[in-house]
Structures are given as structure tokens and as C-alpha cells.
Symmetry: C3
Subunit: 162 residues, 3 copies
């Protein structure tokens, strides 16, 4: 990685006009991220906003109170929180070699099957920021409920340098 | 791996009369599989059939429109798509050292609890093809909905050779 | 790891008065745990009790038949089964370097959003036993159904020594 400029990801974030939120404290007895065996595992992140809470329009179910653009925005917010946790755990986002996998959980009514486009809010952000290295494997499923009635939760696995 | 015959998995597939489908394009902005740190992570695969779409009897919910044999057949189809993605990503299925984990998501009505037998459609296929190396860890859960109203989604982690 | 006393985790379990259950056989065609690339992946575990079955009050849905303290107790029981599987797979729990990740699936009614506290039953146990090394990344989601109508399922990833 020696040829790559320092703080390149922070500079990319600035170029894109993206400010990462503060890394949120877990809502229960666990840690936000663990580095092990060359991987960084980030706990499922909720769409906490700048104020630290979840906005009312990011609570509830897709196919119910939450419409698809709101869901997609919430997924993007979850992904920003994933990156905030990654930066806190790694010291620098430059240590990310590859976004390996995102897991997307969409809180939805049983009839709502347009869940992949909702999750794109998270996937698109990773590609915007990391380019080719941001292209990841992904599983998206519609769930019965999420903590705090959040409409989306996103977990992640990254390959990282020592 | 030098003692093992080349194309042994392709020959095993031929013996079993199994033709892998074409590797399906992701339904959104991500990639079907990522190799990292000696692992291959395959994105959640849906039961796309030979024609490229999901058959009508593989759409909907277990405990509803979809009966258990159809669900199990869909799980097997998901696993075939997992292997198609693995072959496209690795060049050869001979690089698979071990099927490490399958994650099974069963689209079901809240009362339907016979979800483990449905997922066997995927697990059995792995053992048929890879023998002892096909025996994997697994989590199966019943979800509220899946992309495109698919009745099953299967994701996978493999150990692979460089 | 050479300076650490042998059987230290078994002794810690004894201190805490915790007896691990027998490692349960998988309910279908897969294995309880796989060691690969320095990681131990444990299959989703159900809250089987000492008698080998799931107690009636650990069947059904949170927000329905199962109340939060029962759910939390079930999550702890799932975690005990995770450790029973880990010990069976590794020979000794002393080989665990770090609890990397727990995945918690809570069988719940769509309105029940207090799922994180339920999952604490599993997380707290890991920290009780392993201390700092027990602090893990975690994702908790509410699902439509689980195998055998269990109220909770917990899967795990550990970093282990060769």
C-alpha cells in the first residue's frame, strides 16, 4: 500500500461532500467492530442521523409507513455509520483493502418485495467512496422487525491491512 | 492439492448429471462473489431457473403458496446458482477446499416452522458434489420477504486455494 | 498462548457454576461447526435445554407467547449451545482467541422492537466467560420464524489458534 497517498479516503469523502457521523455506541453489551485474521467485522448498524437518534421517517416498515426513497436513504445512513465504526476501529479508512460483504436487513411488510433497490442506498455509497475496491458481495433479506423499529440495518465485512 | 486430478469437480457434476446454470448478474449494484483472505464469499442467490427467471412455483411463501417440496427444490436451485457464481469467480471449482458455511433465508408465513427441511435442498447438493468437504456450518431463518418474492435465498462462504 | 494456564476456560465455567450442555446434533444435513482459515464458524444454535428438547416457554414469538425475560434466557441457552459446539469442534475452549461475531435471530411479532435486550442474554454470557476477549461484533434482527418454532437462534464466529 506504500504508493497510495495518505488520507486518500478522507480526501475522497471531502471531495464527495460526505461527513461521517460520530461512531454510535452499541445499543447493548457488544462492540461496534472487531479486527481478526485480516478482516474487520462491523456490527449491524442502524440509520442513526446527525442528532444521534433515528429520524421518524426511518422508523417502521417498507411497504407500510416508510416509502422506498426513505428506505434507500436510511440504508445509505446505515452505511455511513458502518464507515464511522470502521474508521474508529482502524484509525484510518486507508487500511481498507476491499469491502468484502454487506448484509442488508430490510424491515418490511410481508408483501413488499422491492427490497434490493432499498439496499442500493448502502451499496452505492461504498462504490462512490472506494471505487472498484468498494464492490462487494451482498445478501439482502426482508425481516419482521429491527432494533428500535429501524427500517434498515446493515452489517459489513472488510479486508484490511495490518 | 497437487495429487488431486484436474477438473475433478466438473467430472463429478457430469457423473451426477448436473449442469450448472449461467452465473446470474446481480439484481443491483454489487458483485456476485469476492475472494479475500483465503475465503470466497458468495452473495445471496435466488432460485433463478434455466430460463433466467424465477419460476412461478418458486415465488411466494412457505406455509402459503409454496409447498415444502417446491421450497426444497428452490433451495437446491439457489445452491446451483451459488456454485455457478463460485466457478465464475474462481475459474475452477477445484479451488474449493471446503464449503464453510451456508446461510439460508426462507420466505415464510409466521406459523411455518419446518424451515430446516426446506434448506436441506441446498445442503444435500453440497454434500452430493463435494463429499466430506461439502459438509458445512449453516444457519436457517424464516424471513418476512425476499427480493423478487423468491421463496428461498442462499448465501455461502468457502475456503479456497490461492 | 504459552503463558496461559491450561483449562482456564473450563475452570472459569466451574467458577461461574456453568455446565455446558451436550453438543446437540444438527437438525438436518450439515455440521455444527467448521474450522477454516483461523476462524471457527458455528451453525445457528437453538435454545435446546438440558433434556435435549426446547422448553415450551422458549417456543413461539417475542411480543406474543414469549416474554422478554424468557427470550433473554433462551438467547443465553443458545450461547451455551454455541460453546458446547465450539468445545466439541476444538477439543478445548482455550483455543478461542476472540469471540469475533454473534448473529442473533429473534422470532417475533412485527411490532416487537425490543429485540436487542433479548439478544443480551447471549452477549452477556460471552463477556462473563471470556472477559475482554468475549466482546464481539453483533447483528440482531427480528425474523418471521425459526426452526422448530424456537424463539431465538444464535450463530457465531470465533478467532482460534491452530
Amino acid at each position: 500500500m506504500t504508493e497510495l497517498p495518505a488520507n486518500r479516503i478522507d480526501r475522497r469523502l471531502a471531495e464527495l461532500g460526505i461527513a461521517l457521523p460520530a461512531a454510535a455506541a452499541p445499543v447493548a453489551n457488544y462492540v461496534p467492530a472487531v479486527v481478526s485474521a485480516g478482516l474487520l467485522i462491523v456490527s449491524g448498524q442502524l440509520p442513526f442521523g446527525a442528532g444521534g437518534g433515528i429520524d421518524a421517517h426511518h422508523k417502521g416498515k417498507l411497504g407500510g409507513e416508510v416509502n422506498p426513497p426513505e428506505g434507500s436513504e436510511a440504508a445509505r445512513r446505515c452505511a455511513l455509520n458502518v464507515l464511522a465504526q470502521a474508521r474508529a476501529a482502524l484509525g484510518s479508512l486507508d487500511r481498507i483493502v476491499r469491502v468484502v460483504r454487506l448484509g442488508g436487513f430490510i424491515n418490511c411488510r410481508p408483501h413488499f418485495d422491492e427490497i434490493a433497490p432499498v439496499m442500493n442506498g448502502a451499496s452505492d455509497l461504498m462504490v462512490e467512496i472506494f471505487g472498484e475496491a468498494g464492490r462487494h458481495a451482498r445478501s439482502t433479506v426482508g425481516v419482521a422487525q429491527l432494533p428500535l423499529d429501524a427500517c434498515v440495518e446493515v452489517e459489513a465485512m472488510f479486508e484490511v491491512t495490518a
